[in-house]
């Protein structure tokens, strides 16, 4: 069509989009030996976009009032055309989102890509992990089902074990001594505004740092000598394959394994006067839950987890890559392997306990 070229040129003269496209896509060179693990970043961005879009659609019909929350969700899933799809997409993609973050973290950890000069990518990545888990926790209360109410009660109780400030902390998180309309209000506000905007901003920083330092070359080869390929279309096609794979996974969850997000207690309205038996958090909190169960003192259990979190957060400053002897590497990989296996083990134990 003859109109497209002049319009694109007009835009290009003012915004330099052709130069931007060349710099970010077609002439942005990345190592040729990037693996499928490296596509997880794009998968995560896709998950975020799905969540934002489906979330905004859900906002059209959802009402964050304890008397109406469950009914409006029921309305969406039963009466609105494709409401069930939008809702299930939002629910299941949240699980895939967390899974992808864990895998992305694990592969970065294994490839030690957080080392100098990429510390800030790791830091922003850890912040993103916290934000995404917070999104999962706050979002989970919104349907106001039995599971929503009681899982939130149990999860927010954990903060109460901190000596002296614990009780006040729980009060501040919930707004009232027990989970109530006020809890729903603040969780809803967080979930739809501050958390998504923060995630967006931090993703921006994460990607900026990535572009500034360049992707860590797998295998440690020198950046200057390794074979490179253009990001578009060579790497983008690989990432597209991963995205389609992710969509297949989400599809499987929605149509074949709905119980991953919807055990029976998630299908009945909240009853503050009746605790269902065997309330458990979702799989991504099961390891923390089981850890708290096995450590006799609840406060100690929390402190230990905080310590692990802090160590992880500051990992780039602890493992700088300066002293790289075989012994050091051996110890490192042993510790990481044991940690990952231990985490999975705790999770499975938590599921069956």
């Amino acid at each position: 069509m003859p109109i497209i070229r002049p319009v694109l040129n007009w835009i290009d003269e003012r915004l330099r989009i052709h130069a931007i496209i060349r710099a970010t896509l077609t002439e942005y060179m990345v190592p040729a030996n990037l693996t499928l693990w490296h596509t997880l970043g794009f998968v995560l961005v896709t998950c975020f976009v799905i969540q934002v879009v489906t979330g905004m659609l859900l906002l059209v019909y959802y009402v964050p009032d304890t008397g109406r929350a469950f009914d409006t969700v029921k309305f969406i899933t039963n009466k609105v055309p494709y409401g069930w799809l939008i809702r299930d997409l939002h629910a299941m993609t949240s699980h895939v989102f967390v899974l992808a973050i864990f895998l992305h973290m694990a592969s970065t950890l294994w490839m030690r890509a957080y080392r100098t000069p990429r510390e800030l990518q790791w830091i922003t990545g850890m912040i993103l992990l916290g934000l995404v888990l917070a999104a999962g926790l706050s979002g989970y209360l919104l349907p106001w089902s039995q599971l929503s109410y009681w899982a939130t009660t149990v999860a927010t109780n954990a903060a109460g074990s901190i000596p002296r400030i614990g009780h006040t902390l729980v009060l501040w998180i919930r707004g009232t001594p027990n989970v109530s309309q006020y809890t729903l209000g603040r969780f809803f506000a967080m979930h739809v505004s501050i958390i998504p905007f923060s995630i967006l901003a931090v993703i921006g920083m994460h990607l900026l740092f990535l572009r500034l330092t360049g992707i860590a070359v797998p295998g440690g080869e020198d950046k200057a000598t390794v074979r490179k390929v253009p990001f578009f279309p060579h790497m983008v096609t690989k990432e597209l394959a991963s995205v389609f794979g992710t969509l297949i996974l989400v599809n499987l969850l929605i149509f074949y394994f709905p119980q991953v997000n919807f055990p029976e207690d998630a299908l009945i309205p909240a009853n503050p006067l009746e605790t269902p038996a065997h309330i458990k958090p979702h799989w991504y909190f099961l390891a923390n839950y089981q850890f708290l169960k096995i450590v006799p003192n609840e406060f100690l259990g929390i402190i230990l987890q905080v310590i692990v979190g802090v160590v992880l957060f500051f990992l780039p400053f602890l493992d700088r890559g300066k002293k790289s002897s075989r012994l050091y590497d051996g110890v490192f990989y042993t510790v990481v392997t044991l940690a990952i296996l231990g985490y999975i083990g705790l999770m499975v134990w938590g599921y069956y306990s």
Partner: protein
């Protein structure tokens, strides 16, 4: 499964709580020696499992070890009911059943002085009650006084309805667990189930058959709704499968394109 376990745990908890301060049970168990007797039977009963204790039916004071206090008739102790007192004894809680029973031929026989005549404990026992099933109607129990053929017809009619109700409830539950709202169907099934179960003590096949026939249209209506929702679920799954196929093709196409693009870069190694 988890619900059953939870219910049983809760029931055990309640039952131990209720029977903890239970002098009735303690003394009578002792008196019975090695059994048999009501106290020996009691732990097997569904009433016990649901936290009901002796005094809840028989009155009296379970917190006192003194028989004069524990079994004081002036203070509400009822003791063992006579055969004609049994319907009202159980009917304190099971009112609708009692009302049905009182209209039946069994009740008429009982109050006309026919002995033996069936009251509640004849079929359900006094202290060993279990969750009811239609097998309470059987040749041994019913054949004690008359031929079994009428009871057999009754059991067959009720049995057919019970089977349909159970399978329909299972279907409805499966749909519910897949996320589709079945509140209306659950309410309708609850209503139908109650109407049907009330028939068990009427005992007149000429009254029961019309009532079962009257319930059929409601059952059919629920079946129709459930079928529609089942179809909806299957349609969704079909759409999902088509999408999955599309994504599969996409994944393969993308990866193959990627591989083709990377070929010149990986060829010389």
């Amino acid at each position: 499964m988890k619900r059953t376990i939870a219910a049983i745990c809760l029931a055990l908890l309640l039952s131990t709580a209720a029977n903890a301060q239970n002098s009735c049970y303690k003394c009578h168990l002792q008196n019975e020696g090695s059994g048999p007797g009501p106290a020996h039977d009691w732990p097997t009963s569904i009433h016990f499992r649901n936290g009901i204790a002796c005094a809840d039916c028989h009155g009296g004071n379970p917190r006192s070890d003194d028989p004069l206090v524990a079994m004081n008739r002036a203070r509400g102790f009822l003791g063992k009911p006579s055969p004609t007192q049994v319907p009202n004894f159980c009917g304190k809680c099971h009112e609708a059943i009692r009302d049905n029973y009182l209209e039946s031929a069994h009740a008429k026989a009982l109050f006309a002085g026919v002995r033996p005549a069936p009251n509640c404990v004849t079929c359900h026992t006094a202290h060993r009650q279990q969750k009811v099933t239609l097998d309470l109607i059987n040749p041994q129990t019913c054949g004690q006084c008359h031929s079994y053929d009428r009871a057999a017809r009754l059991k067959e009619a009720m049995g057919g309805m019970e089977k349909d109700l159970t399978s329909l409830s299972k279907e409805e539950r499966r749909i519910f667990l897949n996320g589709i709202d079945t509140e209306e169907e659950q309410k309708a099934l609850f209503d139908v189930r109650n109407r049907v179960h009330r028939l068990t003590h009427v005992l007149d096949i000429n009254k029961i058959l019309p009532e079962l026939a009257a319930v059929r249209p409601d059952l059919n209506r629920v079946q129709h709704e459930v079928d529609l929702k089942q179809k909806e679920l299957e349609d969704r799954r079909h759409q999902g499968n088509i999408l999955m196929g599309l994504f599969f093709v996409g994944a393969i196409a993308a990866y193959a394109t990627h591989k083709k693009l990377m070929e010149p870069h990986t060829r010389e190694k």
